[in-house]
């Protein structure tokens, strides 16, 4: 599927979902005092947040804003 076919609003939802999940895991990693908390932050939370930011930036660059009539 082409990116323009997905639509900016769908990409925004994906982006915010990834960012929220990553941030929630970051809170867990900060409250959990354990050697694995660093692994949880560095490899899972940071990955999800980074991916969310990337999806948002991709939505800005590659996807055109839908017209009001399409409502997508």
């Amino acid at each position: 599927m082409k990116l323009s076919g997905i639509g900016i609003r769908r990409l925004l939802q994906i982006s915010s979902g990834l960012v929220i999940l990553g941030l929630l895991l970051e809170i867990v990693s900060l409250l959990w005092f354990h050697p694995l908390s660093f692994v949880l932050f560095a490899f899972v939370a940071a990955g999800l947040i980074g991916l969310g930011i990337l999806v948002y930036l991709v939505s800005l660059v590659f996807v055109a804003e839908p017209s009001e009539s399409t409502g997508r």
Partner: protein
């Protein structure tokens, strides 16, 4: 500091949630800026803050001794024996007590902190994926470097006025003679004999 960071993360989550449930809001110019802040700037700042907090936390004595295999090393800091170098440094606050492990074991080179973190990740891998070594079998790769002692002691009057140190100075700085393995300060983390030791109990 962690509280402030968690507050910032909570605010970011609230802001990002708006675009999860109402993505159509970004049609308006003002909301486009909010989306940029909520989905790019704030999460980026949360990442930097989180990394900073985790790196600082990983330098604490409590963090190092939270690994099962490091527990005996943590206990050895309380050995009641002035000849026991790590215990003497820890108990007399010659190193910050809350960063005792890091103070002596950090590589003070330019890429030292990165090397330390990679070594720590390797230890986590050994702990959870393969069989971890017994505590008594753990050795520092390449041995303990004098640079870690000299980082604090070099230039100190009590160190430089000691005739033994003066005589050996070039050998010490070039690491040809080890501070720990030359018959001078050779009792460090004697965990094999931990059960025979007397322990210091700090006054609460």
């Amino acid at each position: 500091m962690v509280g402030i960071l968690i507050g910032q993360i909570a605010f970011s989550i609230v802001l990002a949630s708006i675009f999860l449930f109402r993505p159509s809001l970004t049609s308006a110019a003002g909301w486009k800026i909010v989306a940029f802040v909520g989905l790019c700037v704030l999460p980026g700042l949360c990442l930097v803050g989180g990394m900073n907090t985790h790196v600082q936390r990983s330098e604490t004595t409590r963090f190092c001794t939270s690994c099962h295999v490091m527990v005996p090393f943590g206990q050895s800091l309380y050995i009641d024996d002035a000849n026991h170098i790590p215990a003497q440094h820890f108990q007399n606050h010659r190193v910050p007590a809350d960063m005792a492990c890091y103070s002596c074991h950090a590589d003070y080179g330019i890429y030292g902190p990165l090397d330390d973190k990679l070594r720590g990740l390797k230890r986590i891998y050994l702990q959870y994926v393969t069989t971890p070594p017994a505590a008594a079998a753990i050795r520092i790769p390449g041995g303990f470097k004098n640079a870690q002692c000299l980082h604090c002691h070099a230039g100190a009057r009590s160190f430089e006025e000691n005739p033994v140190h003066t005589a050996l100075m070039s050998s010490l700085t070039s690491n040809q003679v080890s501070c720990l393995g030359s018959g001078c300060h050779d009792t460090a983390h004697d965990i094999a004999n931990l059960e025979h030791q007397k322990f210091w109990k700090p006054i609460q």
